[in-house]
Amino acid sequence: MSEVAESAGFLDKWNGADLKRFIGPLLRPLGLLALCILLSFLSENFFTLKNIISVLRQSTILVVVSVGMTVVILAAGIDLSVGGVMALVGCLTSQLIVNGMPIAPAIVCGLAMGIVFGLLNGVLICVFGLPPFVATYGMMWIADGLAMILMQGKIIFGLPDSFLWLGSGYLSIIPIPVIIAVVVAIVFHFYLRKTVPGQEIYALGANRDAARYSGIKTTKTLLLVYSLSGLTAAIAGIMMTARLDAAEEGMGEPFTLQAIAAVVMGGSSLMGGEGGIPGTIIGALILTLVVNGLNLMGVSSMVHPLVTGGVILVAVFFDIVTRKWSD
C-alpha cells in the first residue's frame, strides 16, 4: 500500500515540493534510458539484438539476488551473506549432481540450503538480537568457509547438459534464465504489493515498533524475510553454476554489494518501508549495463570494482538527496 501513500502527493496542493516528489520516481527509468543512449554512442555494438539479449541474460543473476535483497531491505534489514550463500549452493548442487544425484533433487537440496541459511540469519537477528550486518557478515564467512571445505580448493565443471539447459537453454528466442528471473520478479512483486504478508513486511520496515503494537508477528515475519533472501540467493547460485558450467568457492562475492546497490538505486530506502521490485530491476539493469559498457570498451576487469563502488556511492548519495526533497 505504499502506492496509496505515494499517491498522497498528487492529491495535495500542487506546489514546488510536490514537483520534486513527482520527478523523483521518474528519475530512475530516465537514468536507465540515458545510460542506454550513452552506451550506444560509445560502442557501435551496443544496440545489436545479440548484445541486448546478452545483457538481459547477464542481468538475470543479479536481478534474482536483488529481488530477495529488496525484501530484506524493505523490512529495514540487510543481508550481507547472499554472495556466500550463492557460492555455497552452487557448489553444493554441482557436487551432488557430479556424484550421481539426479538433477531435480539436487536443486531442491540447494534451495533448501539457501532457506536454512536465511533462517539462521533470521534467528541470529531476532532471537539473539545481533545487528543485521554483523549477523549476516558472520554468516557470509561461514558460508564461504563451508564452500571452501566442500570444494577442497578444486573447481567443478562438466555438468550434464540437462542441467546446463537452465543456463544456456532457450524457449523460442528467450533465454531460460530470463524466464526464471521474470517469474521470480513477478511472483515477489505480487507478494509484496498484494498480499497480507507483503504489507506486513512494509509495516515492519517503516516502523517496527508500531507494527508490533498493531499485532503483527514481527519475529515470524523477519524469519520469513531472511529465508526469502536465502532462497533467491540459492536460485541465483544455481543459475550461475548452470550458466558458467563451473562451481568454485568465492564465485558469488561481487554480487552482495551489487544487489544492495541495485535495490538502493531502485528507490528502496535503507531505512525500510519504501520501494519495491520494479525499481530494483531498473537498478540491476543499470548496473549490468555499466559493466557491459566497460566490457565493450575493452576496459580491464580490474577496474570493475572501482566503477561499481563509485556508481553505488553516487547512487546512494542521490537517493538520500532526493529523499530529502520529498519529505
Binding site: 501513500a5 495535495d12 504489493r193 498480499t195 504489507q199 516502523n207 519504501e274
Partner: protein, 512 residues
C-alpha cells in the same frame, strides 16, 4: 510564600529581565504558539501553566534556545537577541532544563555536567579530579550525593534531571527555565528542589517554572501566566487567583461539557487482574474492568501504569499473578496474541507506537486487521479504501482523503485513526494510555464522546491518564497507582479530587 519583589504598581519600576513579544511557532499540522507575550523579572518565580498541548513547553524551549520561533522577538534587558542553540542562550545567561535531557548515557556524571566545558590542565588534558570535585559541589547544593564517576545510565530519571540542572547551573545563568521538573520527583525531592529555587530567587535569578500541576505552583510561584491553545489566556499574581479560576481559564469552558458521560449498568467482567506483578513495573495489582464501563487509572508519571498496560497487551514480562480476559485465563505473550483476543492498545506515544507516520490514513486504519478482512491472502485496495472511508465518516476524522499521509493530520485526528484501527479489529477491550495528550480542547471532547459511545456498545475501556479532571470526569471507577502499587477501587462518587490527588502523591497509604 514570600514575594521577592513588591506587588502591584511598583512592578513597573523594575525592568523585566527577559521578554518575549508576539511569539508564534508552527509545526507541520499544528500551530503551537500564536502571538504570545511573556516576561520575567529578576528575583521572581513566574509560573507558566496550561493544559497538555497548550504550548507552554514550546515557549520554554524557544526561550532556552532549543527551538527557533517563526515570528516575534526576544528581548534581554530590553535589547533584542537572537538565539539559535541552547549554548548561545547560555552565553546570554539563559539556561533551561527540559523534559528530554541532553545527556550522554555512557559518559559519567561529571563528564555530562561539563560536556564541552571540561576543566583542563595545560589547555589540553582533561582534569578529571577537578571535574569531579566541581560536580559533587554542584550536585551537593541540590542535596544530591552520588558517585560522579558512575556512568549516567546507572541512575534513574530523577537524578538525571538533577544532573541536567547542575549542568545548567554550572554556567551561572541569570534566567532559569524549568519544564515540568517535578514530574519525576518524589515528595522529598520536590521539597529539595523548591528549597533551592527559593535560594536562587533570593540571589536575584529570574525563574520560569512550567507546569500543569496546580497543587505545587501555589507553593513556589509569584506570578502566573496561563496559556490556552497556544495563546495568552491570563497573567497575574499568584495570590490573586484561585485554583478554580485557573482551571476555568486553562480549560476555557465549563468542565461538565468536557466529559460527556451517560453512565450505564456495566455488564460482565472483561478484564480481571489478580496479584499481577510485572518485571520492571507494578507489583501485586488487583484490577477489574467490566463491559460497558470506563475504568481510570490515575498516577504520576513513572508510577508504573504504562508498564501495566503493556504487560496486559503482551509486551513486558509477567512475574506472577493471573489475568482473566472475558472469563478465560490468559498469559499475554505478544501483541499479536492479544489482538486476536480482541484487545487493543492506544499507546501513549502515538507518533511512534500507534501509527506509521509516512503511510496513509487508509493503511493505518487496516493494518491491524488485514487477516480479518482478507482471509484469502490477497489484498484489495478498493476494499481498504471503503473500510477507511467508513471510519473517517463515523469518527469524523479531519482529512481530505483516505490516502493522505497520517503525519499531516492534527493530533486529534491522528488519535482517531489509532482508534479506528482497533475498531476495525472488532476489539472488545480497549486500553487508552493518555487518550487526549497533546490534543486541542475541541478534539478532546470528541474523543471523550467517542469513548462514551463505545461503552454504550458494551466495550470495556481501561483508561490511563495523568489529567486528573479527565480521570474524575470520565471514569466509572478509579484506581490510583503510586510507585508500582495500585490502590483499591473507588466508584465514581467516592473518587474525589482531594482523595485521588493525595493518593497520587503517596499520602494516606496503608503500607501493605
Amino acid at each position: 510564600m514570600r514575594s521577592a519583589f513588591p506587588k502591584g504598581e511598583s512592578m513597573a519600576s523594575q525592568a523585566a529581565l527577559l521578554q518575549a513579544r508576539g511569539i508564534s511557532k508552527e509545526f507541520p499540522g499544528v500551530r503551537a504558539l500564536e502571538n504570545v507575550d511573556f516576561d520575567v523579572y529578576p528575583g521572581e518565580v513566574h509560573i507558566l501553566i496550561g493544559e497538555n498541548g497548550a504550548g507552554k513547553s514550546t515557549l520554554g524551549k524557544i526561550l532556552m534556545g532549543a527551538y527557533k520561533h517563526d515570528s516575534g522577538e526576544i528581548l534581554l534587558e530590553g535589547k533584542s537577541i537572537k538565539i539559535n542553540r541552547p549554548v548561545e542562550a547560555l552565553r546570554y545567561g539563559i539556561g533551561g532544563v527540559h523534559q528530554e535531557f541532553m545527556l550522554v548515557p555512557w559518559l559519567n556524571v561529571a563528564q555530562n555536567i561539563f560536556l564541552n566545558r571540561e576543566p583542563r590542565r595545560w589547555g589540553i588534558v582533561v582534569d578529571h579530579q577537578r571535574m569531579h570535585e566541581e560536580s559533587r559541589r554542584l550536585l551537593g547544593s541540590l542535596d544530591v550525593h552520588i558517585d560522579t564517576t558512575q556512568p549516567l545510565k546507572h541512575f534513574g530519571t530523577a537524578i538525571q534531571q538533577m544532573v541536567e540542572l547542575s549542568k545548567v547551573m554550572a554556567s551561572n545563568p541569570r534566567v532559569l527555565i524549568l519544564d515540568e521538573p517535578t514530574a519525576v520527583l518524589t515528595e522529598r525531592e520536590v521539597e529539595c528542589l523548591f528549597k533551592r529555587i527559593r535560594e536562587l530567587r533570593e540571589q536575584g535569578i529570574a525563574i520560569i517554572f512550567i507546569s500543569h500541576r496546580l497543587q505545587e505552583i501555589r507553593e513556589i510561584g509569584d506570578r502566573v501566566t496561563v496559556l490556552r491553545d497556544g495563546k495568552n489566556a491570563a497573567t497575574g499574581l499568584m495570590n490573586e487567583i484561585s485554583n478554580d479560576e485557573l482551571v476555568r481559564i486553562m480549560v476555557g469552558r465549563n468542565i461538565s461539557q468536557m466529559y460527556p458521560r451517560n453512565r450505564r449498568l456495566p455488564g460482565e467482567e472483561a478484564l480481571h487482574l489478580k496479584g499481577l506483578s510485572v518485571k520492571g513495573g507494578p507489583k501485586n495489582v488487583d484490577l477489574v474492568v467490566r463491559k460497558g464501563e470506563i475504568v481510570g487509572i490515575s498516577g504520576l508519571v513513572g508510577s508504573g501504569r504504562t508498564e501495566l498496560a503493556r504487560a496486559i497487551f503482551g509486551i513486558g514480562q509477567i512475574e506472577q499473578g493471573e489475568i482473566t480476559l472475558f472469563g478465560d485465563k490468559v498469559t499475554p505473550r505478544s501483541p499479536a496474541q492479544m489482538v486476536r483476543k480482541r484487545v487493543g492498545l492506544i499507546p501513549e506515544d502515538r507518533k511512534h507506537l500507534g501509527l506509521t507516520m509516512k503511510f496513509s490514513v487508509a493503511w493505518n486504519v487496516v493494518i491491524a486487521s488485514l487477516k480479518l478482512h482478507f482471509p484469502h491472502f490477497v489484498v484489495s485496495y478498493s476494499k481498504v479504501s471503503r473500510l477507511a472511508e467508513k471510519f473517517v465518516k463515523e469518527l469524523r476524522i479531519a482529512t481530505p482523503t483516505v490516502s493522505r499521509q497520517v503525519k499531516y493530520l492534527s493530533g486529534g485526528s491522528q488519535q482517531k485513526v489509532v482508534l479506528a484501527k482497533w475498531l476495525n479489529t472488532d476489539s472488545k477491550l480497549l486500553i487508552f494510555d493518555e487518550p487526549t495528550r497533546g490534543i486541542d480542547v475541541g478534539a478532546k471532547v470528541e474523543i471523550h464522546t467517542l469513548m462514551d459511545n463505545l461503552v454504550q456498545n458494551d466495550i470495556a475501556i481501561l483508561m490511563i491518564s495523568s489529567d486528573l479532571p479527565e480521570v474524575l470526569g470520565m471514569s466509572d471507577a478509579v484506581y490510583v497507582m503510586y510507585q508500582g502499587k495500585l490502590s483499591e477501587r473507588f466508584s465514581h462518587e467516592e473518587a474525589t479530587q482531594d482523595k485521588v490527588a493525595s493518593l497520587m502523591l503517596g499520602v494516606g497509604r496503608n503500607e501493605a
